[in-house]
Amino acid sequence: MDPATQAAQHFAQAPNYILEFTYLIASILFIFGLKGLSHPDTARRGMFLAEGGMAAAIIGTLFHHNIQFFGWIITGLILGSLVGAAFAIWVPMTAMPQRTALSHAFGAIAAALVGIAEFTMHAQTMSLFTRSALGLEVMLGSLTTTGSLIACGKLQGIIRGTPVQFKGQQYLNLLIFLSMAGCFGYSLYDPSATAFFYGMVALGFLFGIMLVIPIGSADMPVVMSLLNSYAGLSSAATGFVLGNNILIIAGTLDGFSGFILSILMCKAMNRSITNVLFGGFGAVHHAAGAGATGEMREISLDDAAVRLAYASKVVFVPGYGLATAQAQHAVRDLANALEDRGITVKYGIHPVAGRMPGHMNVLLAEANVPYGELYEMEQINPEFPTTDVAVVVGANDVVNPDARDNPNSPIAGMPIIEVDKAKSVIVLKRGQGRGFSGLENPLFFKPVTSMLYGDAKSTLAQLTQQVKNV
């Protein structure tokens, strides 16, 4: 090899060193960005760092020596930025769960498509290890895509939120899973048998659907976290296929974040991940839900307002009903009116309240509640004996004392927000029917509890007026 050719080759590879270095910087910035999220005060600054890293990585990649045709790239970047900006500006906070599910689907489909494209171009020349990583990437990517779309449909109300269950479902799912794994195995053994590879992709899409349809809305926080984890891991597998470290790092961070959240959510419901995925929540309830008897006491608006106005400490406990009624601002208004009277107001937030981790915190922050008033379950529970009024807004299972007192309850052992230890409880509820879980809630029959029926938003608005007039 003559020196001139060597020099030319060296020059051709030089941009790769710059690119690798850019990726390294970007990876470090991502980690600093996530570290910033350990406190609300540093979070935004951290995110700016991560955004900078992302911009550098993308611009650097545009100079990659393999990229020769820019038409499709530019079109994709522009269209994607427009749609992404529209989401960022117009998605309401109450719709965060479904938008997050959709973004898991988008991330997963990107990973799956990159994998399929790599397979069509280079399957014959890949090492066994690369093909395994590619198979994992495409499997995780395809099942996460359809699974997230189903979750998104359920959260948006396009698909019924109730679990879809039938006899032999678990065997069918097992069969699909084994066929998918079989196709994966065979395409590892013989990469030229492309039918098996594409069969694996199709079965992956099917498995994603089957995995999420039996899961009820109340279990969504766990499912969201798991899908988050799968989407991240499929990105990480893409990194192994492409030999790209930043993909491995970012994908692993995403995957582990989802994994940690899944475990936290499962702990907050005292259930295992397999139980959520295969346990068929909702089905058990009707059998074991009897036991709570007695009379529910209704309270009038006037009485409720007077009780609140003369309290010295009030704790609000929000649930998913707060989001459906869009009542976060109404809660804040009532809290303001109470604080103007010198009453201490706090909010008790259960980890699985709502449909995704942290859902309630975001809604209340949107309504200008300072985060110092938002308390985690462990922090707020010791305060109830000194609380005059606990106001439950659209929450049900997370305040169900059966979880603590009745070992036969389907939710036995789930940690709850112990509102029943407060001096009095007011439950805001749409009607007398059972909540999403279909579970009877003995809290509603306790002597300390009064029920206030009606739409949470208008009820809270009227309460605010009444409190101001007291």
């Binding site: 609300p40 790599e118 171009m121």
Partner: protein
């Protein structure tokens, strides 16, 4: 010196593979440490942020969407001649979805984080 192939996938020799596994293991460990320190208060922004960050798969999509000549007639013609154009199209869709995730992920995270305020009316924050 190794001659670079006109392919998006770099060949994985065993040392590169082991280095990649090191990266994976260390990133997993670091991710565990960093993410377990995020308070439940910020779990929704966390999910949104990690989503945006994993949109870095965009860099893989870009290389695929831009490496091959797109030829409509070959695509319609089918067979192995169509593969390059199919790969370009798949890369294009992946560039689109990954860009949506990056832009909306960072945008929404910032919109959410802006709302978390310590004080509104001179009340004490806990802890």
């Amino acid at each position: 010196m190794q001659v670079s192939q006109p392919s998006a996938s770099e060949a994985m020799d065993p040392m590169v593979l082991i280095a990649a596994l090191y990266v994976f293991a260390l990133a997993a460990f670091l991710g565990y440490l960093v993410i377990s320190r995020v308070p439940p208060l910020l779990h929704t922004p966390l999910m949104s942020a990690t989503n945006a960050i994993s949109g870095i798969s965009l860099v893989g999509s870009l290389v695929i969407a831009g490496s091959y000549q797109f030829d409509y007639h070959k695509l319609i013609g089918g067979g192995s001649a169509a593969h390059a154009s199919m790969a370009t199209l798949m890369g294009f869709v992946a560039v689109f979805t990954a860009t949506v995730n990056v832009v909306s992920g960072f945008g929404l995270t910032d919109r959410m984080l802006k709302m978390f305020r310590k004080e509104i009316k001179g009340k004490e924050a806990h802890k």
